[in-house]
């Protein structure tokens, strides 16, 4: 296959960027999208030009490091997969492919197609955990958990923290990401003691990072590579209002 790529190039957050066109030649349909970029980068390197910078690591859809806004979709046109799992057989010979970074105020550009998603880490640091120290915990089977609950918690826990939900949202809202963690821990007995405190701390941090608000468009769910459901957001809102109405004092007492 031969393709034309329109790629966003930007040296760093301080400079402005622009689209540059490249030819991708002799691409095999069995290649992954990132392998196609590897090929382009090898030829740029041979010419002494700077290769295109993009984030990636596991290349099997689990680390959440890859991003890329491809032809107007985060992680490309196929549902339920990440960019690294996208294969070139999805495209046709001669096609022009536009490749951009995630665009959101809370995700400043690092270089070319890579962005800074450390805001996600800071939200998790604000409360995405159960406060137990190592050692001295009860036996793993001490508290039975109904299989349906465990499975539901697991589904929320499969979020890979990629940020596609933010990139997809016209308001750059991070609600789907934040609600996935809140739902996972909120469903499990281990997460109960800090349930209301957690939701308030994480939402407060989310707001502080400059993510937009949710207007229920559902673009996040449609583009999420792990198919995290909007019901997570409903649960989070529930817990949040419940906390605000009845349990807010707890946070102020225990907050750091």
């Amino acid at each position: 296959m031969n393709l034309t790529l329109k790629v966003w190039r930007q040296k760093n957050a301080q400079t402005s960027g622009k689209f540059v066109s490249y030819k991708a030649e002799n691409i095999s349909p069995d290649m992954s999208f990132l392998e196609m970029l590897d090929v382009v980068n090898e030829s740029l390197t041979h010419k002494g030009d700077e290769p295109i910078n993009f984030d990636h690591d596991c290349r099997e859809g689990i680390c959440g490091m890859c991003s890329l806004y491809i032809n107007g979709h985060p992680h490309g046109p196929k549902r339920g997969i990440t960019t690294c799992q996208l294969h070139m057989r999805t495209f046709h010979d001669g096609e022009t492919i536009t490749i951009e970074p995630w665009r959101a105020e809370a995700f400043p550009i690092v270089k070319d197609l890579a962005v800074d998603r450390s805001a996600f880490d800071r939200i998790q640091q604000a409360g995405g955990y159960v406060s137990v120290n190592t050692g001295g915990v009860p036996d793993g089977n001490a508290i039975p958990i109904p299989k349906v609950i465990a499975d539901e918690a697991f589904n929320s826990a499969t979020c890979i923290g990629c940020g596609a939900c933010v990139a997809a949202c016209k308001n750059a809202s991070a609600m789907l990401f934040v609600s996935a963690k809140i739902t996972q821990l909120g469903l499990l007995p281990q997460g109960q003691p800090e349930r209301y405190r957690r939701v308030q701390s994480m939402v407060a941090q989310m707001d502080e990072e400059g993510f937009g608000s949710c207007t229920n468009t559902g673009a996040c769910e449609a583009e999420c590579p792990k198919e995290i459901k909007l019901t997570n957001i409903a649960r989070m809102n529930n817990d949040y209002f419940s906390a605000k109405l009845f349990r807010e004092d707890e946070v102020h007492e225990q907050g750091h």
Partner: protein
């Protein structure tokens, strides 16, 4: 220097308890006076950082990804072992210990392995308490599955994403300590050297991968938790960024490298399709619980399958050779990885390989789907099947998967004593980065167990002993060693940036991978290894003349990062060859063609090779010096492994 493994005295089952009591403790009020550097925040590093932070130490943690949640541990699929015996099927600490020693082909240290089996049970409790959503049965209790090399069900799992869930658990504990101010996290930082003062590790040098700033960091101790080096083979199941640089630079500063040639080739990976391939994808070993491995009985049928004139499901039952079930009736498809891999290779060499390239055998779920129904199979393995479909465009619910072995894990790594200390006092190695617990072959679901054991339950004790002995006096950052080591790093970076040749570092890496796979892969010969050594030396010389590195230091520069890693892989490759040449026996994943039994199994030579090889760096382009840690076995009887 003589190697001292510092194995505690006393009966095997009491060593760890007794040792914990004998270790010195750091007074709680003094803990905050100690700074601990942790490089790597995968399972081993994140669990260590969180636990040491909870104890009150000041921790500085580093990783090269943009978040600790992305460490390669995230990709582990199948599960984690623990001797809980929840299934009442005869498991025990001793059995897990025994299986691990035997699975490792009697090349691991008994005392370490027993400790690992002991603390395995605590790991599961810890993870459950953190909110890790393990798979459960309808009664609400934890579910288990069995894994290769064992006859009991002791593997805990979270669908096909166990590593992800365990890492997110450790990451959450780490986040809590970051929030509490006890851990300072440095992401997108690459460690490039260790600073030693009077022979003790006192700091590291890092490069900030966003700005290029090269800085020193001081600490009373340094923990390397930087993962394995499978990517020396270029193609492996590891993440693209996994590398040996941290361990290798530490090696060059005096940390001995243990058993570098012990690598694990995993039997069930998606076969290579072409030269563009950047990595290989594992299909979890858990699939062998329900999938049956087979190859066509005759070369003629294989030929038709390769050409596509015959489809796998059209091959008659009588024409299929379920070779693992045939040769190993007791373990069947669940034989250890090295055995399964070598058998697949044999089939291919006999001309019975399938798929376009002929480098594959089948893993078939037809029987499982008949027996359990498609829904059950989907619930167990759905995400793996999806992954397979994505990559191959074939449907394993309808057609058997094609699989072939690929490099997956490195049992070798920095040599450590019982306390996880390297030969540089104050420098520790945890997780896949050390050589310890798996001998010459790792059993499935045991790496996650070891990483978390090292981080949550071992290092918090053993490190305290060292710290109590050296005392909390501040590290002297004006010591010339800091400036000198930093200068070495700057010089190395500049040397790389000056390379403006004709070949990309990726091309060198691929070439190195070809050499390693061909001569130091599933079967190794004296002749081949000697040839490989020459090839690698030539490759190294050529790299430093003709490689291309683009850009400058003061920016995000993936080309520079890659170049440094490839340069280190080339040097490591040579040491692996030396180690493989030296070890004239076969054991576990190290198969020397000259040393095999009549039926082609690995043949050990316990008389001459029951030792750990620990290599000492002696200077650039000098032969390394071999030190031997003799292995003694008291609790198990050395025997030829037999899985029939």
């Amino acid at each position: 220097m003589t190697l001292d493994a510092k194995i505690p005295q006393g009966p095997l089952a009491e060593k760890w308890s007794k040792h914990k009591f004998d270790l010195k403790l750091v007074n709680p009020a003094n803990k905050r006076k100690y700074d601990i550097i942790i490089v790597g925040t995968g399972l081993a590093g994140a669990s260590a950082a969180a636990t040491l932070g909870e104890l009150g130490y000041n921790v500085k943690a580093f990783c090269f990804q943009d978040s600790p949640r992305r460490a390669h541990s995230i990709a582990a699929q199948g599960g984690i072992n623990a001797a809980k015996n929840y299934q009442n099927d005869g498991d025990s600490v001793f059995r897990l210990f025994y299986d691990t020693i035997k699975g490792g082909d009697y090349r691991a240290r008994e005392s370490n392995v027993h400790r690992l089996a002991e603390v395995s049970v605590n790991i599961i409790d810890q993870c459950v308490a953190q909110g890790v959503p393990f798979a459960r049965e309808y009664g609400g209790l934890l579910d288990n599955r069995s894994f290769g090399g064992s006859q009991v069900s002791r593997t805990f799992y979270a669908r096909g994403q166990t590593g992800q869930q365990l890492l997110l658990g450790a990451y959450s504990a780490l986040n809590r300590q970051i929030h509490a101010g006890k851990v300072k996290m440095y992401t997108r930082h690459e460690m490039l050297d260790v600073v030693t003062i009077d022979g003790h590790a006192k700091g590291i040098v890092t490069r900030n991968m966003l700005t290029g700033a090269i800085d020193t960091h001081d600490g009373h101790a340094v923990l390397l938790c930087t993962g394995g080096y499978s990517n020396v083979f270029y193609l492996s199941t590891n993440a693209i960024g996994s590398n040996v640089t941290a361990a290798w630079r530490a090696h060059k500063r005096g940390a001995f490298f243990g058993n570098p040639c012990y690598t694990q080739i995993h039997p069930t990976c998606i076969p290579v399709t072409g030269d563009h391939q950047s990595k290989l994808t594992l299909m979890s070993e858990s699939l062998r619980n329900d999938g049956r491995v087979w190859a066509p009985k005759t070369v003629e049928i294989a030929e038709q399958l390769r050409k596509g004139t015959l489809k796998a499901d059209q091959v008659k039952e009588d024409d299929r050779d379920y070779f693992l079930e045939r040769k190993y009736p007791a373990f069947g498809n669940l034989v250890p990885r090295d055995v399964a891999s070598r058998n697949a290779k044999e089939m291919v060499e006999e001309g019975k390989g399938v798929g376009g390239s002929g480098f594959a055998v089948f893993l078939d779920f037809a029987d499982a789907i008949k027996r359990l129904g498609e829904e059950t199979v989907k619930a167990k393995y759905g995400n793996l099947f999806d992954m397979y479909i994505q990559i191959t465009d074939e449907n394993p619910y309808k057609q058997p998967m094609r699989i072939y072995p690929a490099v997956h894990y490195t049992m070798g790594g920095l040599w450590v004593d019982y306390n996880l200390s390297t030969t540089i006092p104050g420098l520790y190695a945890l997780g896949e980065c050390n050589f310890s617990d798996h001998g010459a072959n790792r059993l499935g679901a045991s790496a996650l167990m070891q990483g978390l054991s090292d981080g949550y339950f071992v290092i918090p004790y053993t490190l305290g002993d060292y710290l109590a002995k050296i005392g909390p006096k501040k590290v002297d950052t004006n010591h010339p060693a800091f400036a000198a080591t930093k200068k070495d790093v700057v010089d190395h970076v500049n040397k790389l940036l000056a390379l403006k040749g004709t070949k990309t570092t990726n091309e060198y890496h691929r070439e190195l991978g070809h050499i390693m796979w061909e001569y130091c892969g599933m079967a190794r010969t004296d002749e081949g290894l000697r040839k490989a050594k020459g090839l690698i030396q030539a490759l190294k010389a050529d790299f430093w003349k003709n490689a291309i590195v683009t850009g400058e230091n003061e920016e995000v520069n993936a080309s520079l990062e890659r170049a440094g890693r490839v340069a280190d892989f080339i040097e490591l490759g040579e040491l692996m060859i030396d180690d493989a040449l030296m070890r004239k026996e076969s054991c576990g994943g190290h198969f020397r063609v000259e040393s095999q039994t009549a039926d082609g199994e690995a043949l050990r030579d316990d008389e001459n090779f029951a030792f750990v090889a620990a290599w000492e760096f002696k200077g650039e382009n000098q032969p390394e010096e071999l030190h031997k840690e003799q292995l003694t076995f008291e609790a198990v009887h050395l025997s030829q492994r037999n899985y029939a």
